[in-house]
Amino acid sequence: MNDKRPVNLDIRTIQLPITAYVSILHRVSGVALFGVAGLMLWMLDQSLRSEASFDGLKAILASGWCKLVLWAMLSAVAYHLVAGIRHLIMDLGVGETLKGGVLGARLVLIVTAILIALAGVWIWQ
């Protein structure tokens, strides 16, 4: 196979539709979740190790910066979950048209924005 063949897909020169941004964000949030998986396991570890480490984790999570990190983590979870549910719905044949795809992408952004706001209320209430 000639690997010098021209490739006409340079995403830097293409104006991307909303569906592309929603898809890229799904990837970005997924990679981010892999990145913080160790942190999540550490939190599970601390929460179950002993009563002292459980209270210690609670104290750590009560500090301002940690709340921000927790909110960012929950935001990534919310986005990846909602975008993933859209994928499953599309696998059932719903929202596969051009119009349906755009509508689904908008709904993902709206629903995620609401969930991220609610997560903020949960953390800072």
Partner: protein
């Protein structure tokens, strides 16, 4: 003769496709259950939390979720790495770098699974 993929999880696109969706459903259910539990226990004590995780069905659910996350991350990161860490986008050393990253990724996932089993079963 077709070249067989060697770094994806299920050895075929179709099985990866299915594993990705089944694992997604398991992770989604676990996430919703855990968030629901935490929301309904605002004054959670260590005794309640530790008791929940000593309950066998909960341990099984947690283990399933961790295994699903490992498989899900393997397939997802494989897709990302084979799309962006390529000779076309990065030049001649991309293949070696990608295989290195893939091996590192699988190693990290294995370590996470072992760590999770240790956390869940030591109590």
């Amino acid at each position: 003769m077709a070249v067989k993929p060697v770094t994806n999880l299920g050895r075929s696109g179709l099985s990866d496709w299915l594993i990705q969706r089944v694992s997604a459903v398991v992770i989604a259910l676990y996430t919703l259950w855990l968030i629901g539990y935490l929301l309904s226990h605002p004054d959670l004590t260590y005794a309640q939390w530790a008791g929940l995780h000593q309950y066998f069905p909960m341990r099984l659910f947690s283990l399933l979720a961790v295994l699903a996350m490992a498989a899900h991350a393997w397939i997802g990161l494989w897709a990302v790495l084979t799309d962006y860490v390529t000779v076309r986008l990065m030049g001649g050393r991309a293949t070696a770098l990608r295989v290195l990253l893939q091996v590192g990724m699988v190693g990290a996932l294995l370590a996470y699974v072992i760590w999770a089993v240790d956390i869940l079963w030591r109590g």
